[in-house]
């Protein structure tokens, strides 16, 4: 008997028990759809995190004042009394001691009420240097960024985030206009390109960037003039991030005259923070995927059960087929084909359901669902495997039946 004929017989048999076949298939369908969707959700979340990493600058190290014993790099006592200074930032730019550091930007921040005409908006004012734009991988949508000259001259100029522009200028072009911060008038020279808000960080589109010199004299409290709240370091590449980390650490330890255990600063990479988030997502994915996997297993048991019932109630038919010349392997093949057809059709329908879910779900969960071609192929492969494995025992039982015993069965 040819493979095609075996397949045809198998489909005929499934067709003659339509309802039972459909219900059995449903078990695999639900299992496959559940697995694909949970894995897809997990991958979607991870892709989102990856996108955030690149938004923040992937080669970025962040030095904050205060120590922490936590290995996850969570900040300690920020702002209590800053131990970082502009001089620290200057020292880090020296190529001789820190060859793997490309650029350094020290920032001091302060929450201030900013006024434009009669409009008032409370936002973060950041005092920094021209390298900030490079280190934070930010572009301008209008005007220019801070220049070395602005720093040297202590000019009162400001670059605004798009959200800040919307709040203060209500859509009008702000370049050339002036804003008032802490009683001083700053001229707006540029607008940052929006990067979209990210869930793990402050709103990067709502801030006012000013030269650190102007910040020290016009914005900061007099006691904290030389202090910076954060130093951003850009490594020369992602591969040198660890080297840059070591260089920055030993340099700052030396400058502050302390040992590692007494370090008064913390260096973390954005990546390490996000990796923690990714790891959490992954744990959740594995957990949910496991639950979904169990439902797939239940589906497999459903196929095995249906095939066993089918063998039991078709004993006469099997006996007759053997009496008419079906070899044990032909009988085994037919039952294996039946089981694997159930598995594969359940898998394909599950894939279709998951595909629909991937389109519909993001509207309700505000979470992207990624279904990769590999996941789809694996799902169909797995459902075929399930069908075969679940079919092996019933099929070999059918194949072993002696023709006359089977025929006598009533």
């Amino acid at each position: 008997m040819t493979t095609l004929e075996t397949f045809r017989s198998a489909l005929q048999a499934l067709h003659s028990h339509r309802l039972r076949s459909a219900l059995t298939m449903l078990g695999i369908l639900i299992g496959i759809a559940a697995v694909i969707l949970t894995v897809g959700l997990g991958q979607g979340a991870q892709a989102q995190v990856q996108a955030q990493i690149s938004k923040l600058g992937s080669n970025l190290l962040v030095v904050t004042p205060g120590s922490t014993t936590s290995s996850t790099g969570v900040r300690g006592g920020r702002g209590t009394s800053s131990t970082l200074t502009n001089a620290d930032a200057q020292a880090l730019t020296a190529v001789s001691v820190a060859p793997d550091i490309r650029a350094v930007a020290a920032t001091a921040t302060s929450n201030q009420s900013v006024t434009a005409g009669s409009t008032n908006w409370t936002t973060t004012v950041v005092g920094t240097t021209p390298s900030w734009a490079q280190v934070r991988s930010r572009d301008l949508s209008a005007g220019r960024f801070l220049t070395a000259d602005d720093i040297a001259q202590g000019r009162a100029v400001a670059v605004l985030g798009t959200e800040t522009v919307t709040q203060l200028f209500n859509g009008r072009s702000p370049v050339g206009q002036s804003v008032s911060i802490n009683g001083s008038t700053f001229t707006v020279v540029g607008v940052l390109t929006a990067i979209g808000s990210t869930s793990t960080t402050a709103n990067e589109d709502d801030q006012v960037i000013v030269p650190q010199t102007a910040f020290a004299t016009r914005v900061a409290a007099s006691s904290a003039r030389a202090a910076v709240s954060t130093i951003y370091i850009e490594a020369t590449s992602q591969g040198t991030l660890t080297a840059a980390y070591q260089e920055a650490k030993s340099l700052l330890l030396t400058r502050h005259g302390v040992t590692t255990t007494a370090a008064d600063f913390t260096i973390s990479s954005q990546q390490s923070l996000l990796q923690t988030a990714t790891a959490t997502d992954r744990t959740l994915t594995i957990l949910l995927g496991g639950v979904a996997g169990i439902s797939l297993l239940v589906g497999a048991l459903g196929i095995a059960n249906m095939m066993l019932v089918s063998v039991a109630e078709r004993v006469r038919e099997i006996g007759l087929r053997k009496a008419l010349g079906a070899t044990p392997s032909a009988v085994r093949r037919q039952f294996l084909f039946e089981a694997s057809s159930l598995g594969v059709s359940g898998g394909v329908c599950g894939l279709v359901l998951a595909g629909t879910g991937a389109v519909v779900l993001p509207h309700f969960l505000s979470q992207p669902v990624t279904i990769s071609a590999t996941a789809a192929a694996a799902a169909v492969g797995v459902s075929l495997l399930i069908g075969v494995v679940a079919g092996v025992y019933p099929a070999s039982r059918a194949a072993r039946l002696a023709p006359i015993d089977a025929l006598r069965n009533d």
């Binding site: 087929r321 010349g325 023709p403």
Partner: protein
């Protein structure tokens, strides 16, 4: 050499049910030669069907040997037996054994399916076989839509469809009226004169009379005078 096609030596078939032992066959020795037309007669429960099942390689003796065309059947593998059943033997079951979900021609084509015959040829040969038993107009009927006699003729058509050299028929005319019986016997006559070996079980002396030899069986034993054994 032209030894017997079917050769049984001291074949026993014992069924054990609890304490009860039933000797369905109690030591049968018999020979059937190529091209013979043999009828088997005997009272109900005498072991006729059991004998037929063993000859058709559907069942195995508890003891004794059965040689089919010189080959000891007990030495054949399952797959070889399947091939023998498929290519050499046409079996008409006492209880028809048609598949209720398949229509007449699909039932008849089954042996051809396992012989690897193409779909078109199967359909053609199944239709021919059904025509020979007078059911040309019932190709698409399912067993449930046929009378008992018609079902029996479908079973006969299925046994003939592969054109086997050995036909084993367990009461093939049991449900037929005299005209249909005559038709089926005519068919066997035709096959016999074409050189096929035929063995049929019957209760009717008329039917047995059509054959060249009648084997009588009683209580699991064959009447020695009719066994044809050397």
């Amino acid at each position: 050499m032209s030894g017997p096609v079917l050769s049984l030596r001291d074949v026993r078939k014992t069924y054990v049910m609890g304490d009860l032992r039933v000797d369905a066959l109690a030591g049968v020795s018999m020979d059937v030669y190529e091209g013979e037309y043999v009828a088997v007669m005997g009272p109900s429960g005498s072991g006729k069907s059991t004998l037929m099942h063993i000859l058709g390689c559907l069942d195995v003796p508890t003891s004794g040997t059965y040689e089919l065309a010189g080959t000891d059947v007990s030495r054949m593998t399952e797959a070889e037996l399947a091939e023998v059943r498929n290519r050499r033997i046409g079996f008409v079951f006492q209880g028809f054994n048609l598949l209720p979900t398949l229509n007449a021609w699909r039932n008849v084509e089954l042996p051809l399916l396992y012989a690897g015959v193409s779909r078109d040829a199967r359909r053609r040969r199944a239709a021919e076989a059904l025509e020979r038993v007078g059911l040309a107009d019932r190709l698409d009927h399912r067993p449930g839509e046929l009378s008992g006699g018609q079902q029996q003729r479908v079973a006969v058509a299925r046994a003939l469809v592969t054109d086997p050299s050995l036909i084993l028929a367990d009461e093939p005319t049991g449900n037929l009226d005299s005209r249909a019986t005559a038709d089926v016997l005519g068919l066997f006559e035709e096959l016999s004169s074409a050189g096929r070996t035929i063995m049929l079980i019957t209760h009717e002396p008329d039917v047995a009379a059509a054959s060249a030899r009648t084997v009588r069986i009683r209580d699991g034993l064959v009447d020695l005078a009719t066994a044809g054994a050397a």
